[in-house]
Amino acid sequence: MPESQLPSISQTEHLILDLLGIGERFGLELIAASGSRLKRGSIYVTLGRMERKGFVESWQEERHPSAIGLPRRLYRATPYGLKVVEAYRVLREALALRPSEATG
């Protein structure tokens, strides 16, 4: 990404980063914690996009070698992702100020 371009973040991505700020989670745990705001059918598309943007990182759960089926995936917010959320929070707060308040 060019340095001059600001990272974009959608509301869903923002919500996921908020939920991951507490700690690492599985996709289904994120859906449950979101109170149905995250949809089961699209969460992995969003998480995949966020991973490409560098907002989250993921890895497969550790399982017993004899376990059957595919391992689930755990997600964690990256320091960069949390920084972007924080930057947007500061920006929102700044934009919420009235011009008279901003000039002191």
């Binding site: 599985f26 996709g27 289904l28 089961r40 059918g41 699209s42 992995y44 598309v45 998480l47 995949g48 991973e51 993921s58 059957i68 089926g69 595919l70 391992p71 689930r72 995936r73």
Partner: protein, 291 residues
């Protein structure tokens, strides 16, 4: 193991990174939720298919974006356009024998004939176009070219119904009027829209519907053949486009359309072409979905 079949399908058709990030976690959830009752399992199944569909769509969009750059699209359009112009030029040469008039005498009639000729030649010029695009062998090129050919086929049917049927009717009216016929002229199968033809019961209309749809679908077959000819030179590709059109026109004019056999007979050349193209382009590097 539950979800094994869709896992195999996804590994085959979805690019590795999208499989890992989108499909595999959804399948893992399905396997995790399966013992938790039928409703949870059914929902998880639907989610896996949705995830696989989303991954496939993302792959396709990314393949199209990477394949159809401004440069590659311009090159393909130039070579396909070269074939198309050569085909039109050949038709100008054979006008007196084929249609009974010369260009200098009946320019208006020829102008009315052009849309119909372009539509007939369009699938064949997919061959040089696809070949030029496939010269840069990248993963997913074949998928992008085939999606482009499908889109081209759709545009073709829209063009036929949107304008070509009207120019065909006008052509007939002028041609018949010059032979002394007066009064309104009922449109024939080639002058009716596909929807109009589909409502009619006569055999000629049914055959025309099949012929039209088979022609549009043949864009995919010619594109597949083009994928196998990516190494040919530009001049050879222009010539191959003309040859492809000649072959298609000869097969269609020689086949007993509308006379004997079932109405779907026009599909035979298209299906044959599709099979030949699929075999010829098999194993080309552009068919790979891996990154």
């Amino acid at each position: 193991v539950i979800g094994e079949r869709i896992d195999r399908l996804a590994r085959r058709f979805v690019r590795e990174d999208n499989y890992r990030m989108i499909v595999a976690p959804a399948i893992a959830d399905l396997q995790y939720e399966a013992p938790r009752g039928r409703i949870n399992r059914a929902r998880a199944y639907i989610d896996v298919w949705r995830a696989a569909g989303a991954a496939l769509l993302d792959d396709t969009v990314s393949d199209i974006t990477r394949t159809f750059t401004r440069r590659s699209a311009t090159s393909a359009a130039t070579v396909a356009g070269g074939s198309l112009i050569a085909i039109l030029a050949l038709h100008v040469l054979i006008l007196p024998w084929n249609w009974g008039f010369a260009l200098q005498d009946e320019f208006e009639l020829f102008a009315l004939l052009v849309p119909s000729l372009v539509v007939s030649a369009w699938p064949a010029v997919m061959l040089p176009g696809a070949a030029v695009i496939a010269r840069k062998h990248r993963a997913g090129t074949a998928r992008a070219v085939l999606v482009g050919a499908c889109g081209s086929g759709l545009v073709l049917i829209i063009a036929i119904d949107g304008g070509v049927t009207r120019t065909n009717q006008r052509f007939r009216e002028i041609a018949v009027a010059r032979q002394g016929h007066r009064g309104p002229l009922q449109p024939g199968p080639r002058e009716r829209t596909t929807w109009d033809l589909a409502q009619r019961d006569d055999r000629a209309s049914q055959v025309e519907v099949h012929a039209r749809l088979a022609l549009c679908a043949s864009t995919i077959g010619w594109a597949l053949v083009g994928l196998a000819l990516a190494r040919a030179s530009t001049a050879a590709l222009v010539a191959l486009g003309v040859l492809a059109y000649g072959l298609m026109a000869s097969v269609l004019s020689a086949s007993p359309l509308g006379v004997t056999g079932p109405a779907w007979i026009p599909w035979i050349p298209t299906v044959t072409l599709f099979i030949a193209g699929a075999i010829a382009s098999r194993g080309e590097p552009g068919h790979s979905t891996s990154t």
